[in-house]
Amino acid sequence: MAKGPRYYGRDDLELPQIDKRLVYIGIAAILGIWLIFSSVYTVNADEVGVVQRFGRYTVTTQPGLHFKIPFGVESVKKVKVQRNLKAEFGFRTRAAGVRTQYASGNYASESLMLTGDLNSAIVEWIVQYRIKNPVQFLFRVRNVENTLRNVSEAVMRLKVGDHSVDEVIIINRQEIAIDVKDNIQQLLDEYETGIDVVTVNLQDVNPPKPVQPAFNSVNEAKQERERIINEALQAYNKAIPQAEGQAEQTIRQAEGYAINRVNRAKGDAEKFLAVLQEYNRAKNVTRRRLYIETMSAILPKINEIYIVDEGQQGLVPLLQLQKSGKEGQR
């Protein structure tokens, strides 16, 4: 019974009889699925599709579902035209987020540049760009990102090289950034990169590190100057009003003395004039009265009074009465 093929072992097994039609249907099904997968594609909302037939560009398709000729005849490259891309120069952001972390590597070769006054400055900047012409972007220039970076560096250095270090650090920052953006755009358009430069932003612009302390010392010296002047002004404003107060006081005191003196004089004068008036009415009597009053007031105070007769010559024979009287009383 050698009808079927020979088997080792099992004599009762047979090849399953496969209907030829099933094979054809199977192949057709596989081809059909392959056909569907390779002829349908979607373009996302932030993309466009660039279609090539046998390598030749035919059309750009917008977001949505599209058909293309399958089996390698047509191919689609999807280009994200809405996305804003960022190129950093002189520094790198390692992780974006609420607080961006900057890479600590030394990007000095990107950021150190010569200025027009033959000084140096450290310039960090970013370029934001997007793809505006996907056909040019894909087919005109081989390494677009590399081109963008090289052009950005060349243009920034060109502009910085035409400004002084002060202009770059402070005075003309805005103008320089705008100038650089325009120039980069112009060159990228010349090369047909299909890139649109959205913005160029200068980040940190500083004098080179070894020079920074000297630059800082200028600020410090300026502040020092202000401080010294303020202190002197404060001392002035403290001393002068105080002195003026003193001066006032001195004058007031003098005025006080003046009033006192004049009033006293007036008082004395009035007193005298009053007495004089009375005196003029009765001169002798008044004189006598005044004299006697005075003597009455004085004599009791005096301890030793000697009464001498008018004929007495010399004072040697003295009356010891009062003295002995005093001694006796003791």
């Binding site: 046998f54 390598g55 030749r56 560009y57 027009g116 006054d117 000084n119 140096s120 894909l138 081989r142 090289n150 052009v151 560096e153 060349a154 250095r157 060109l158 090289g161 035409d162 400004h163 002084s164 270090v165 402070i170 005075i171 060159l187 070894p210 020079v211 000297a214 630059f215 010392s217 200028v218 010296a221 020092e224 100057r225 202000e226 002197a232 001393a239 002068i240 002195a243 003026e244 003193q246 001066a247 006032e248 001195t250 005191q253 003196r261 004089a265 004395d268 004068a269 009035e270 005298f272 004089l276 004299y291 006697i292 005075t294 005096i302 301890n303 030793e304 000697y306 001498v308 007769d309």
Partner: protein, 314 residues
């Protein structure tokens, strides 16, 4: 089933055709030359799409059609005024004539090193003939510096105007280099100067200069501050003296006037009867000066004591 058989035959024929290499496609980024038995034939093919060639005997060699990058190494070059700088250029080029390209340099690597020689050479030639300032600057615009007053900007006057500028120089480099590259089937699109940098020792000197200049300005601020302070202190002293002496003067004046007025009052009043004044004043002074320590000697014919002797009315 004749249709099926013919269809299958057509498909098999097409497959054979494709497999034998009668078709080839060129991407938009590619251009090609046809080699027959290793030798180029015909014109270079620059259009993208589907093309025919003779199978088996003809081969296709493709080249880049897009703009290609060239990035030079940094070279140390001395300018006309003997300043040593690092210069770094980059260029963009294209294979313009793939046939010539294939015949001369054959591939991109060779082309790159050929461009190295050409562009670096031209760059060096041109830069050594120019002063440093010509290579750094691009225009003769007057540059400003921050004035020592910080609010005002003052123009920088010690930099001479330039004759060429960086853009002109790089255009010269491009023009000169473009003369030699067509023989390789290359078209130079652009040459740009990417970096100019001082060599290390010159950089140090430049830093020293910048430091010295800023230090000078800082010193100036400091001495200004001290000068201003001395002036204010001087003013203060002067003003103090003024105030004190003025007050003294006024006070003395007031006192003097008061004394004068008092004297006048006394003179006016006492002067009416000088004798009576002297009488009264002397009596008053007796009261003040005679006290317990005094010793008085009186004669009996004094006005006070005369009544001791008699009471006659005299």
């Amino acid at each position: 089933m004749k249709v099926a058989q013919i269809g299958t035959a057509v498909i098999i024929f097409l497959v054979l055709l494709v497999a034998s290499g009668a078709f080839y496609t060129l991407d938009e980024t590619e251009q090609a030359i046809i080699l027959q038995f290793g030798e180029p034939v015909g014109q270079p093919v620059k259009d993208a799409g589907l093309h025919f060639k003779v199978p088996f005997i003809q081969d296709v060699t493709t080249f880049e059609k897009r703009i290609i990058e060239w990035d030079g190494d940094a070279n140390q070059i001395s300018t006309e005024d003997k300043r040593y700088i690092w210069v770094n250029t980059f260029a963009r080029w294209r294979i313009h004539d793939p046939l010539k390209f294939y015949q001369t340099v054959n591939n991109e690597n060779n082309a790159q090193s050929r461009l190295d020689d050409i562009i670096d050479g031209v760059t060096r030639d041109i830069i050594t003939k120019n002063k440093l300032i010509e290579v750094v600057r691009d225009s003769s615009r007057t540059m400003m510096a921050i004035g020592e007053d910080e609010e005002i900007t003052i123009p920088i006057t010690n930099i001479n105007p330039i004759q060429q500028g960086r853009t002109a120089i790089r255009k010269m480099i491009l023009a000169r280099a473009s003369e030699t590259v067509p023989q390789y089937g290359i078209e130079l699109i652009d040459v740009q100067i990417k970096h100019i940098d001082y060599i290390e020792e010159v950089r140090m000197k430049v830093y020293d200069r910048m430091i010295a200049e800023r230090t000078r300005i800082a010193e100036k601020y400091r001495s200004e501050g001290q000068g201003e302070r001395a002036k204010i202190d001087g003013d203060r002293e002067k003003r103090l003296q003024e105030i004190v002496s003025e007050a003294y003067r006024k006070a003395q004046q007031i006192i003097g006037q008061a004394d004068a007025e008092a004297t006048k009052i006394y003179a006016d009043s006492f002067g009416r009867d000088p004798e009576f004044y002297s009488f009264i004043q002397t009596l008053e002074s007796y009261r003040q000066t005679m006290n317990a320590n005094s010793t008085m000697i009186l004669k009996t014919d004094s006005d006070y004591l005369k009544y001791l002797k008699k009471t006659a009315n005299r």
